[in-house]
Symmetry: C2
Subunit: 248 residues, 2 copies
């Protein structure tokens, strides 16, 4: 936890009172003392600093902070993800890693090779997935929560939702291990916003790739090695970022 | 498991008899039948194909393969890692993800911010870590096992071991969040072999960075976001690969 994230409603004037895992973390891990300053931020709001003005160092852990916010929320990251619903244990890791790396929106939809049982995962409830997003932000010192949009049916998603949403992107990419194109081939000028589609274990089927291609997505591959979806998300995000920064 | 990995000794003439998790995987997950062909490879040896010639589809699962190997082992990947010993649960994931992404050697050493207790992890025994490396290779369809070199004392490692080992690299890099340099700045021509040093949670201390710098390591950072070590390993490997391929 490299920043303490606060709900807007928790900030009363310039004071915040913590009595949950954040207080415990401040006391047990960061070992703060009265007078110490820590990084704080309002969820989907500005960042700043909090001075410890009072604390209870034993259970039940409590910390009172005097806070001020002088740093605007970071801009929306230039990369969005479109995922075929992964296995819940993997999706949990993807949520926190994607939030840590920085993504604007995570679209989740169906695909032929997604196991039907995954759709009953409680992790698809905002109440369940939000803590994993916040964990990633706490790691990366960010306050902007990625938007998560879930569409259980593939066809209505690609036919009705995607055509509207894709207008905001300069680059639409689909990672497809069969493709001969490289990332260098599909990004040959500085991208503005990128939407990256990543398939399920086993990949997209041809029908799905064709639908994306019709929407304007360009397929590319990173080579012969087959990666797990959670590794692929991080590796692809990093490669896109590197490619993007190479134009600056 | 996208390739069945075999110890050399298991191959008798052109036959292999499997009765462990590999047989179970072939039967339960891949649902092979007699006559089917699967990808096989000899650990640290060539890749090829195996034809199912006999099987027992119930517990105890057994599969007999007729194998042939026509594809040479892949070349040594151009990226090696130097890690401050991570928390065991993280190291386990790093072993399989690094093997999946492709690394030649993983050096592990100490650092000020490494918790002493990590050094008693059984995961540092080859018997314990090798299965995680093989898992990554099975995922990525590779047969070359990364070399793992563990040096528990930092000073003898950087003073006596590193000076010899670094001769094989064209680029020595140290990821250091404080640095102003970017990856683009430290790799301005096509690299041959790269050694990448990644610190513990909390980072290297200045003394450690100075020792690496004396050895010729160039520090760089990916920006302001702080990543967990396992996420950083994948993201940095991917960025190095993208940067490297941009010169081809």
């Amino acid at each position: 936890m490299n920043i303490i994230l606060l709900e807007k409603q928790e900030v009363l004037g310039d004071r915040v009172f913590l009595a949950d895992r954040r207080a415990k973390h401040l006391i047990k891990v960061l070992q703060v003392q009265s007078g110490d300053t820590v990084r704080v931020g309002i969820i989907d709001g500005p960042k700043g600093y909090g001075k410890v003005v009072a604390l209870c160092g034993k259970y039940p852990f409590q910390v009172e902070l005097e806070v001020q916010f002088a740093e605007e929320m970071a801009e929306k990251p230039p990369i969005d993800l479109l995922l075929a619903l992964p296995r819940p244990i993997m999706l949990r890791r993807i949520f926190s890693q994607a939030a840590a790396l920085g993504v604007g929106t995570i679209f989740i939809t169906n695909a032929q090779r997604v196991e039907k049982s995954f759709w009953s995962a409680t992790l698809l409830d905002e109440e369940e997935y939000r803590p994993h997003l916040l964990q990633g932000l706490e790691q990366a010192v960010d306050t902007r929560v990625p938007e998560v949009c879930v569409y259980e049916r593939f066809k209505p998603f690609v036919e009705d939702v995607l055509p509207e949403r894709i207008k905001e992107y300069s680059h639409l990419l689909i990672a497809h291990p069969g493709s001969a194109a490289t990332l260098k081939g599909v990004i040959d000028e500085r991208p503005d916003r990128i939407l990256l589609a990543i398939g399920p274990e086993g990949g997209w089927i041809n029908y799905e790739v064709d639908r994306f291609t019709e929407c304007g997505f360009a397929a590319f591959s990173l080579g012969k090695r087959i990666l797990k979806v959670d590794t692929a998300v991080v590796a692809l995000h990093a490669r896109l970022s590197e490619r993007r920064e190479s134009f600056s």
